[in-house]
């Protein structure tokens, strides 16, 4: 820790100490502690800025030289100060001088030194160690100098605030050296925090309870310092409560009596000012105490607080009340009593000169006016909502926006769709009736005032007020205002979407009443209430009405919003785009939004985190309005094509999935089309900076984003393979075509024609995948082949045959030559098989081969049996059943299929297998005997499902749609439990996310001028961290997240849970091969080679096993059927402590191989999360 300053060259302390007044005069300029700025001795130019302003620096240099020369003759400044001539003062030096100076604190010179040099420098450290506390306390008691004392309170507070773990202290700075290292300090050695804290607390509490007017200011400071101590200990909390309530008792109540006098406050007498100061201090302390719900005294004091004359005190009081009101609106409303009425204290706050106080007022009004518990008290509720509406007129944007958000029903992110919808309706229907002048309000009774004011000012529909306000905000030059306004519009969009979502059954009748109401109140609104009503009744006909309709108002607002896209700040633009996405209606034209986004994305300034945020917004938008699936996919596509390097492919995939499911049966085709358009993109042409305005043009001009695009395409291919059957509703187990028919159509053209006529969705998906299997890079071709196999296995004829033929041709390599003229060669060695895919394809072909062969045999056998009118014998049936099971196992290695329904032998086999099953009482359950599960293919992905899915499947069989959804992980349930992208989405939807941003654009880290952190103390903290990160995440010095380099894509592809493919089962060797990849330089060819290895390894193992299984029946099955006597079950969770040990989850089934010294060597059915399948576990952990 102490190295924070030692090893890093210039520290903050150096910067500070390099001031001339501190350094002793002679030769000061030559004794700069660091190489920075030569002329620092005058204290003029910032040392680090010296090189920038070299001219000025030279000037300064001359000047300072002169001055230091002058000083040399006149060394007045060379006071007998501490010895920090050469080096920056160390912490222990500071501590020591505090002790020394505290002893002589009655002398002016010591005081000056303390204030001018010692205390400021101590502030550099991030905590104050307890050993200085005795001196501080001594100063606190004996010193009279205000400035010294102020620092004393500051440091005492910091000592109190220091949680036991240093890291949690609020203050940053140089890490304070280890306290133990300070033990050599002679005055007080070895003082611990536990020793001093009670003393500090005692001294401060004594002070804060003293009524002596002389010590008024000190009392306030002491109280403040006290509150910074942690309130986690109940003892401390009690003490604080006692003090704060004690003070409030004295000052708050007396206020009450003299309430009418408030308005004459500023020139008030001394007594009232003292009181007001105390009120401020005690309320500010109260605010820091934990909220004491259900304590009437707490609430009572806070409510009294809103009448205090100190604006900060009022703000704190309101914030306390508004927080309590969220939980307990009833008692708050009761406690507030009449203060919301005209003339009440809350009305005064409308004119209080404190922005945050009014913000809290808005929150308070919102929670009370929306409270269900107050339903019987409409009068109270209306008072508060009228207050809230008045806040819409607030001069401060902050307050007005808060009020809009409250009207819209947004408080935190927990409100329900109904709340939001209600908010939108409120905003569009309600009317602000009482924008009365305060003088009128305070004099009149409610009814009178409202009458008066409605004469004085026209009632205004809220929506108009809001729109006007927002439009003017969008013309502001201030970026925060623009950002906030866009955010408000976004929230409006959310509420509006919610209203639409519920619109069908909601509010139809209500609306009429409302609009009648509107009419009766304001003839001005006559023309717009009617169109509005019709608009609401049938939302689609949302034309641009006159300027006075809600639609018209919105249209003009959106016009202004769109112009804001021109803001130079990307964050503002991002917010604007989000707002536009939210305000987009399913029925409106999308072109404008699309072109805006497309233009925006061409700007390289966008950070990837922001783009992903927008992507997540699409997600949220989809959740709100599932109708928009296709629209949103279109937008997502723009992201995929424009900035493939910056978006998170996982998030994009998740969006695809959700949209695909959400699109419903009719939209599935379109949704899939939207996804697959990614595949139709031309491969990025390096170096060609062609027209960027076209949406479909890929702008992957640099290798990084070209890589990322590849990854994206890969993801799309995988997605297509996994979901095409779902989208096309085509499943082998539902296909009516008997396999024989398909075999007749061996002519490829006819087959394709038949296929596309039967199911255009699937046919087009196939075409695309086939193209990908030719073109594209190696990994895309692999993914395409896998995808095709998946589809082949899952679909019925003629698709299966079509794919079979295609794969067959591909493995021979003949087709490649036909196509190679069309595609630019990407310079790869195509391999002996022509496509380089031969070794990969063969096992896939083998499956299909086997299936067809078995089908042939079955057909033959059936014919024989039919001809000879023979019944099937049990042995024959058994053989058939075994083939069936074997094929099922085999197939399950490649993709998920519902075991109960899937018939590798074709539909005709169903009956026979059924017969055999019935005879032998074999249940068709899936469960763990499914090799797909056993080998971990569906590891992670389905794990969570298995638990609660198994039971229903046992009895009823799976609905195919559901099964596919399950297989693809489409259901909410699945994705809510799993993928990391899901967490992002969930966080986003919940509006959570205060965690730190990930700044790992190492571009920045690398390109940053070396003068940056390098010489700073912070760098020393950073160093270790950066090193770790580099090792762990990026081998090529490129940004790991945004580029999607080959390595990441591999690991995510085959390790990530989004790709439950054959290869996602991690055999033990896989980890190792991945390791090697990471260590290799990220050259393309090597990684491909490496990857081939990592592909082949599992495949060879798998292939070997399954072909071996052919002769002897499935290996696993035989083991199981022979009833291995050593099977066992894990009794408890066990975490592996070493390489040869195996982690277990309790309840897991294992096979016990042998026992050694109290350990079992066991094998799991499938690899665990760490990828290990076998290892040692303690005997006691397994029941045998």
């Amino acid at each position: 820790m102490a190295s924070g300053q030692d090893s890093s060259g210039t520290t903050l302390m150096d910067l500070i100490t390099s001031d001339p007044s501190a350094a002793s005069a002679p030769g000061a300029s030559s004794q700069q502690p660091s190489s920075s700025g030569g002329g620092g001795s005058l204290g003029r130019p910032a040392p680090a800025a010296a090189d920038r302003k070299s001219k000025r620096a030279t000037l300064m240099q001359i000047q300072s030289d002169t001055i230091s020369a002058a000083k040399a003759f006149n060394p007045v400044k060379a006071l007998p100060q501490r010895n920090r001539k050469k080096k920056p003062v160390s912490y222990s030096q500071l501590a020591r001088s505090i002790h020394e100076l505290a002893a002589t604190c009655d002398q002016k010179s010591s005081q000056r030194q303390l204030v001018n040099s010692v205390f400021p420098k101590l502030a550099v450290y991030n905590s104050v160690d307890p050993s200085v506390a005795p001196s501080l306390l001594m100063l606190h008691q004996q010193c009279e100098d205000r400035n010294v004392l102020r620092y004393v309170y500051y440091y005492l507070a910091r000592i109190l605030a220091d949680n036991d773990s240093q890291g949690l202290s609020a203050a940053g700075g140089i890490p304070t050296p280890n306290w133990d290292a300070l033990a050599d300090i002679d005055t007080v050695g070895g003082v611990t925090r536990a020793d001093v804290v009670p003393r500090i607390v005692d001294q401060l509490s004594a002070e804060s309870t003293s009524d002596d007017v002389e010590f008024h200011a000190r009392r306030l400071a002491a109280l403040k310092a006290l509150t910074s101590s942690s309130t986690s200990s109940s003892e401390m909390l009690e003490k604080l409560n006692e003090i704060v309530f004690g003070i409030l008792e004295k000052v708050a109540d007396s206020k009450q009596k003299r309430k009418k006098g408030i308005f004459t406050k500023q020139g008030g007498d001394k007594e009232s000012i003292l009181r007001s100061n105390l009120q401020y201090a005690s309320l500010s302390a109260l605010r820091r105490l934990p909220l004491d719900l259900g304590n009437p005294a707490f609430l009572h004091r806070a409510v009294q607080g809103i009448e205090f004359s100190d604006p900060v005190a009022v703000r704190h009081a309101l914030s306390i009340i508004s927080e309590i009101a969220v939980r307990d609106p009833y008692s708050v409303a009761m406690a507030l009593g009449k203060s919301a009425q005209p003339g009440g204290a809350l009305q005064d706050i409308l004119h209080l000169h404190d922005v945050l106080a009014r913000v809290y007022l808005a929150k308070l009004c919102h929670s009370i006016s929306r409270a269900r518990v107050l339903d019987e008290r409409p009068d109270i509720k209306s008072q508060y909502s009228s207050l809230l509406y008045q806040l819409l007129l607030d001069p401060s944007d902050r307050v007005c926006f808060e009020a809009i958000l409250c009207v819209l029903g947004k408080v935190d992110n927990t409100e329900s769709t109904e709340d939001r919808a209600g908010g939108w309706i409120r905003l569009t229907r309600e009317i602000l009736k009482l924008p009365e002048a305060p003088s009128v309000a305070s004099k009149g009774v409610l009814s009178k005032a409202s009458e008066k004011s409605s004469k004085a000012r026209r009632p205004q529909p809220l929506i108009k007020l809001v729109m006007r306000r927002l439009e003017s905000s969008f013309r502001s030059f201030s970026r925060p205002v623009l950002h906030a306004a866009a955010r408000v519009v976004q929230e409006m969009g959310k509420s509006r979407a919610a209203a639409y979502a519920l619109g069908a059954y909601d509010e139809g009748a209500n609306l009429q009443a409302y609009s009648d109401n509107v009419e009766s109140l304001d003839s001005d609104l006559n023309e717009n209430s009617q169109p509005e009503a019709t608009r609401k009744a049938k939302p689609p006909s949302n034309g641009h009405g006159g300027l006075d309709t809600v639609a018209g108002l919105l249209a003009s607002l959106m016009e202004v919003v769109r112009t804001t896209v021109a803001c130079e700040c990307v964050y503002v633009r991002a917010m604007v785009i989000k707002a536009l996405i939210w305000m987009q209606n399913p029925h409106e034209s999308l072109d404008e939004l699309k072109s805006i986004i497309a233009c925006e994305l061409s700007d390289p300034a966008w950070p990837s985190s922001l783009l992903n945020d927008v992507l997540l917004t699409l997600h949220a938008r989809f959740k709100a309005t599932p109708d928009m699936a296709v629209t949103l996919l279109e937008i997502a596509r723009i992201f995929a094509t424009k900035v493939p390097g910056k978006i998170d492919a996982d998030v994009l995939q998740l969006l695809w999935k959700t949209c695909l499911v959400g699109a419903g049966p009719d939209g599935k085709h379109t949704a899939l089309e939207a996804v697959t358009i990614v595949l139709d993109l031309p491969p990025p042409q390096p170096g060609s900076m062609s027209v960027l305005t076209s949406v479909d043009m890929v702008s992957a001009s640099d290798p990084k984003s070209a890589m990322a695009l590849q990854r994206l395409v890969q993801a799309a291919v995988w997605f297509l393979g996994e979901n095409a059957n779902y989208a096309a509703s085509e499943y082998a187990w539902e296909s009516a075509t008997p396999p024989g028919t398909a075999l007749m159509m061996l002519d490829a053209d006819k087959m394709v024609a038949a296929a596309s006529s039967r199911n255009p969705t699937l046919a087009s998906a196939l075409t695309r995948l086939q193209r990908c299997a030719f073109s594209g890079s190696w990994e895309i071709r692999i993914a395409a082949v896998q995808a095709l196999t998946t589809i082949a296995i899952r679909s019925g004829e003629p698709y299966r045959l079509q794919i079979y033929e295609f794969l067959h041709a591909l493995s021979l390599g003949g087709v490649q030559s036909n196509f190679s003229e069309l595609q630019l060669s990407n310079g790869e060695n195509q391999g002996a098989s022509g496509t380089g895919l031969g070794s990969l394809i063969s096992p896939m072909l083998k499956v299909l081969d086997e299936m067809y062969r078995a089908q042939d045999e079955l057909a033959r056998d059936t014919r024989q049996h039919d001809n000879s009118k023979q019944e099937w014998s049990d042995d024959e049936l058994k053989k058939l059943y075994e083939t069936h099971e074997r094929l099922l196992d085999f197939v399950s290695l490649f993709c998920f299929v519902p075991r109960i329904k899937y018939l590798p032998l074709g539909p005709t086999s169903a009956k026979l297998i059924e017969i055999y099953r019935n005879r032998h009482n074999i249940s068709a359950s899936v469960g763990l005997s499914d090799p797909a599960v056993a080998t971990g293919i569906s590891d992670l992905m389905y794990e969570s499902k298995d638990a609660h899915k198994e039971t229903p499947t046992m009895q009823s069989g799976i609905d195919p749609d559901l099964a596919m959804a399950w297989a693809a992980g489409l259901e909410d349930d699945v994705w809510e439990n799993n993928a990391p992208a899901v967490d992002k989405v969930k966080d986003f939807l919940a509006g959570a996310g205060t965690d730190a941003p990930d700044v790992d654009d190492e571009e920045y880290m690398n390109s940053r001028p070396s003068a940056g952190y390098d010489d700073m103390w912070a760098k020393t903290i950073l160093e270790t961290y950066e090193a770790d990160e580099d090792d762990g995440r990026s081998s090529g010095g490129s940004s790991p997240e945004s580029t999607g380099s080959v390595e990441t894509s591999i690991s995510s592809h085959f390790g990530g849970m989004n790709y439950p493919s054959l290869f996602s089962s991690k055999p033990p060797s896989y980890g190792a091969s991945q390791q090697t990849i990471r260590e290799e330089p990220p050259s393309y060819t090597t990684s491909v080679l490496q990857k081939r290895e990592s592909f082949d390894n599992p495949l060879a193992g798998r292939g070997g096993r399954s072909s071996g299984g052919r002769s002897s029946g499935s290996h696993e099955d035989s083991e199981k059927s022979s009833g291995n006597p050593h099977s066992g079950k894990a009794l408890y969770d066990f975490t592996a402590g070493g390489d040869d040990e195996l982690s277990l989850n309790s309840g897991e089934d294992v096979e016990i191989e042998y026992e050694v010294d109290g350990w079992y060597y066991v094998k799991k059915k499938r690899p665990g999360r760490d990828g290990k399948i076998a290892g040692l576990v303690p005997v006691l952990y397994v029941s045998s």
Binding site: L15, I16, G43, R146, L356, D397, R398, V481, C569, A996
Partner: protein, 147 residues
Amino acid sequence: MILAVLFANSDGNILIERFHGVPAEERLHWRSFLVKLGSENLKGAKNEELLVASHKSVSIVYTMIGDVCLYIVGKDEYDELALSEVIFAVTSAVKDVCGKPPTERLFLDKYGRICLCLDEIVWKGLLENTEKDRVRRLIRLKPPVEP
């Protein structure tokens, strides 16, 4: 909640930082995120022009005052606009202490004072005093309103 107040010089060296409610392991991320933000955007910015950024539900407002960059991070009620209020309070206090928009040197010379001001303005993650005069009185250990 005001999550962080951070002063840095134009080279990205952090001069003062105050975190509240930010776990220690995230502070590093915040530091580098903010510094990066400043290095990318504050170059041509006018003195005290407010810039804005956001990360998830957290808002960031930052500015350049003299040679010093000031970043403030907040969430919940401390959105962009409320943070603008905070930043106004802080910059005016800093200017008050330094007498003008500070150079880095001047800022460091007044380091202790500025820390005290900050202590009065942002305390335990909440905005406390905003008025310049009040802050000035409080850092001299005088009551907020003089009797």
